[in-house]
Amino acid sequence: MYQKSLVELAADLQKGTYSSEELTRACLQRIRTHDERLNSFVTVTEAQALAAAQAADTVIKAGNAGPLTGIPFAHKDIFCTSGVKTSCGSRMLDNFIAPYDATVTEKLLGAGAVMIGKTNMDEFAMGSSNETSFYGPVRNPWDETTVPGGSSGGSAAAVAARLVPVSTGTDTGGSIRQPAALCGITGLKPTYGRVSRYGMIAFASSLDQGGPFARSAEDAAVMLGAMAGFDARDSTSVERPVDDYLAQLNEPLQGLRIGLPKEYFGEGLDAAVGDAVAAAIEEFKKLGATVTDITLPNTHLSVPAYYVVAPAECSSNLSRFDGVRFGHRADNPQDLQDLYTRSRGEGFGDEVKRRILVGTYALSAGYYDAYYLKAQQARHLIRDDFLQAFEQVDVIMGPTAPSVAFKLGAKADDPVSMYLSDIYTIAVNLAGLPAMSVPAGFSNGLPVGLQMIGNYFDEARLLNVGHQYQQVSDWHTRSPRGFE
């Protein structure tokens, strides 16, 4: 049953082929068998999961099941979960039992989904390889010597390894799409403001956005439908009804206008990844789409702008971790200064410290205009590039990441080289657009992701385009060896 899609599982549950409790026990067994090697979970919530599954079975028997009732999911450990450790991959929050639920948690649990556990991630979502986690790296199920991508590496690996059918992630610069690509699954980053950030531990508040991981666009559509929506508790949540993401899945792609930005196919792109993406584009032509070359001329500014904006917002957001109200506190502080300095010094890992330092510098007196203001101006140019492109095309396509999964440790000592692994995903966050990665082939046995970028609030179209591609391709159905 672990090979079945969310939609198939929901149908089986409603037919009574098996119960949610049986399904949940099967997922827990898969985790026990496989996760010691992958390290994709920080916490497995077995007792709560079984209780939730039993409650879901009662709802199903009463004939009141929804599309997620009784479906197990893995939850990125960045979303607060009442009564359950919410570590954010950091020693700082290793002792933090969240006192409330994030809105996304509340919505998924309210829809009857069964939380199996909390997944491993780069510390405070800062990383592209899942190697900065306090709980150790996650391994990619396709090749355990390579990284799963990051920061939502545990959530992506758990779905790829068929431990759970679906999971949640967050994406600040590519943290859903890049691990989806590297693990051979489907991942969607919605429009900024579509999914509530309430209770989602903040990294860079003007860029952070939660979204789903699944094995198909159809399953991602079900998840997004439950996760999205206006929330008065998030001041940047958008007051706009949620589309019916399933309703448009079967629309034909005849006449779809696809734009290929030349900046996404240039120097730095692995040739085999480029070939796989080109082959996928050919499939869209067969489905009736037209393909146009476009240009996003300020693309080269996106990674530099991001590495000002994101660290600046991180240094401000993470100032709340001071050893006073929650989280790690240093032993025997001599004075208040010592309490702050040592609690933060001991609680944060290397990459988080690096970003706090960069952000503090960029925001310090005399440097604000040169860095933060300049980056926000560049952000305007980057956003306008997309707006112009969407006057000509409906969807922009290109590679999700410049290469397939790289070896563990390969980029660990070189921050700038690590940052460049998000070169095709970061501009989307700066512009606040929705984008999705779907499996589009393999290179040397490792998955390649195709990225689709949509206009604001065009998630339904992205899911439609992804679903239609998945009707004529089978990349998304492949499982890694040892996890079939």
Partner: protein, 95 residues
């Protein structure tokens, strides 16, 4: 711009961030690399371009000034390192 050890110490102090003396040269090198990379922003003329703080230039929502939350002090202080009589304890500040 190249940052040296004393720059890193000054920034770490501003951030109230303890870093090991042994790690300072490494951070100085990393920060110098990152800032050199970020310098690419200067290759484009942005004079007259409005800084973009929000992707669709939305403003913060306002709400009526009404009490909507009840008091959760006891509950929230359960995760605090040290409290007494509803107060958070820190080392003595005033002699």
């Amino acid at each position: 711009m190249a940052l040296d050890a004393s720059d890193v110490e000054k920034i770490a102090h501003l951030a109230r961030l303890g870093i090991n003396a042994d790690d300072i040269p490494g951070y100085a090198r990393n920060l110098t690399d990152i800032l050199a990379f970020v310098e690419q922003l200067n290759s484009v003329d942005t004079s007259g371009v409005e800084p973009l703080a929000h992707p669709f230039e939305a403003a913060q929502r306002l709400r009526p000034d009404e009490v909507t939350e009840s008091n959760h002090r006891e509950h929230f202080q359960q995760v605090a390192p040290e409290t007494e009589s509803g107060l958070y304890l820190v080392p003595q500040v005033i002699e």
